[in-house]
Symmetry: C2
Subunit: 332 residues, 2 copies
């Protein structure tokens, strides 16, 4: 077996091999398997460094075959100015979970972006009103774009409000996505007016203090809280979570690093107040939205379940189409 | 920075770039930095799979520069018979700890073998009697070979006893290493006779029940307990640990998965009975051996400190000599 080779896939390969629709389907399946008890709880490992740190997220998934993935990301938020490098960069190793062989090493950037949008789309299928047509996006970076694209795949989106503290970012998103998605997108400076008119509200910012207030969210809204993935990040007013139906990607992870964490810290929620994990809903074991009036919140901290699902799609397509490069690590 | 490339190193590259002597020096420095408080505690993440599992070990080290390494190994002990694959295989990702960039992806097999031998050599420098000339090796696989080679680098070894439950393995090690190391090596069937005549005893087997008994270890012996790296593995009689000076690679890890774990479970030791971590001794903060009569034990569970130290040596040599291959993961 010394000739067995590992597939290497750069960012462009990954982008070419993974469509958002496929990513949504794969991520939904991963959450469903998790909800059915077929996938163990994903795990994380963190190591701080100077001005940043490393995060490893690992998960095992049985789909067509059995795969394990570990994503190693470095998070260094001065990279752009200091090194002209992405703030978040890293690699995913995908292994055959029957024998440990490293099937592929993939750049992580594209998968991290897409699988985060995909999770919101999956959550929206179960937690947004099916007729949701108006969306507010808070945070007009790459993730804001993917969130809007992903929502447009699963909801009849006709209008979007683009909010960002940086005016240029708001306008850039509007220019780029209005035509692509064929919807009306309006840059907004006043967030509360926009959210009160919205059916769906996505927060995907690096905020460390909540900015989406309870009184600014209308009955029946679906909120995707995407930005908080660390214990010092926060986007939602804790009392908003306390009066809503809260769904976690992974309950304990949200209690540690999601917006849920702040609601628990404030004494407004307990872990048992979380309605469900997304996988339980995708598996049909718990209901999603059950009324047009309730506010539903998806606390999205990002899990390796999504990474292994997306990486598996990319690997299988690369293997079939002979895309990417090949390297034999075990040559001896 | 889109042109920045990651160095890819296969098993043969790693073997060519890393000498045992350099590995010993790098591993000693890593433990010393750990003992000085300059390296955070290494971390681990485990995920079981069918008939095996995955282990991630991660550590950060400041040496010439600042590096972070994560080693992902699959451990599947039927791989040989089922897939003609190594039972333990995987990759190491070495990153620049200032910005997270993945500097290199290396096959893990060679480093795992060498750095484990290197840790024993470092421990022997501080814990064996300097005149130690007789060594017993229990377990004549690849690790047994490296252990004997490593000990020969730091002690005046003249005679070795090779013990293995499989006769062929004993004889193979004797044939291979007698000439290479220019010492007398004798295959033995009776372990206790050998260990009683030895100054150093290394256990590096997959045993799940102890086989090195307290009464078979002479006063003044240095014992390196290398095999136990999982909570169901055991090589040393718990009462042997209880009456010896026990040094851990990483205290909490040994209490979880090393031979120490069984001594604690048996109620014969507490965590505070561990004399020191190896790094504290290498840093001069705690004494090593202080008498010719005491029995010293190094509980070696294997840490990412060793991996990041060895991987850094390999990476720096590969970068200087243009060895290995190059791949740009961030091409977009």
């Amino acid at each position: 077996m010394s000739a067995v080779r590992t597939i290497l896939l750069d960012r462009a390969d990954v982008a070419a091999l993974l469509t958002l629709d496929e990513c949504i389907a794969a991520v939904e399946n991963a959450f469903r398997q998790h909800g059915l008890g077929n996938a163990p709880a994903p795990k994380t490992l963190g190591m701080p460094s100077v001005d940043g740190g490393f995060h490893i997220k690992a998960a095992l998934l049985n789909s067509s075959s059995s795969f394990f993935a570990a994503k190693l990301n470095g998070n260094f938020f001065h990279n752009g100015e200091r090194f002209a490098m992405p703030n978040i960069q890293g690699l995913i190793i995908l292994c055959d979970a029957r024998n440990g062989f490293p099937l592929a090493v993939l750049d992580s950037i594209e998968i991290t972006i897409l699988r985060t949008g995909a999770a919101t789309a999956v959550a929206a299928k179960y937690l947004a009103r099916p007729d949701s047509s108006v969306v507010t996006i808070c945070g007009c970076g790459n993730q804001g774009r993917v969130q809007l694209r992903a929502l447009s795949r699963v909801l009849p989106v006709q209008r979007a409000y683009a909010f960002d503290v940086v005016q240029d970012e708001r306008h850039k998103l509007v220019r780029e996505l209005s035509q692509e998605l064929e919807i009306d997108i309006e840059p907004v400076r006043d967030l509360s007016t926009a959210t009160r008119m919205s059916d769906v509200c996505v927060t995907c910012t690096p905020a460390r203090k909540f900015f989406l207030h309870k009184n600014d969210v209308a009955p029946g809204t679906f909120v995707a809280a995407v930005g908080a993935d660390n214990d010092d990040k926060q986007e939602l007013e804790p009392s908003l979570l306390a009066c809503s139906k809260v769904v976690a990607d992974v309950r304990e992870q949200c209690a540690a690093i999601g917006d849920l964490h702040h609601a628990i810290d404030a004494g407004l929620m307990r872990l048992c107040d979380v309605h469900a994990q997304l996988g339980e809903i995708a598996a049909g074991r718990k209901p999603g939205r059950t009324s047009t009036e309730e506010i539903t919140i998806f606390d999205s901290t990002g899990t390796a379940l999504q990474d292994v699902a997306a990486a598996t799609v990319v690997y299988e397509r690369a293997a079939r189409s002979n895309a990417g490069s090949r390297f034999c690590f075990q040559r001896s």
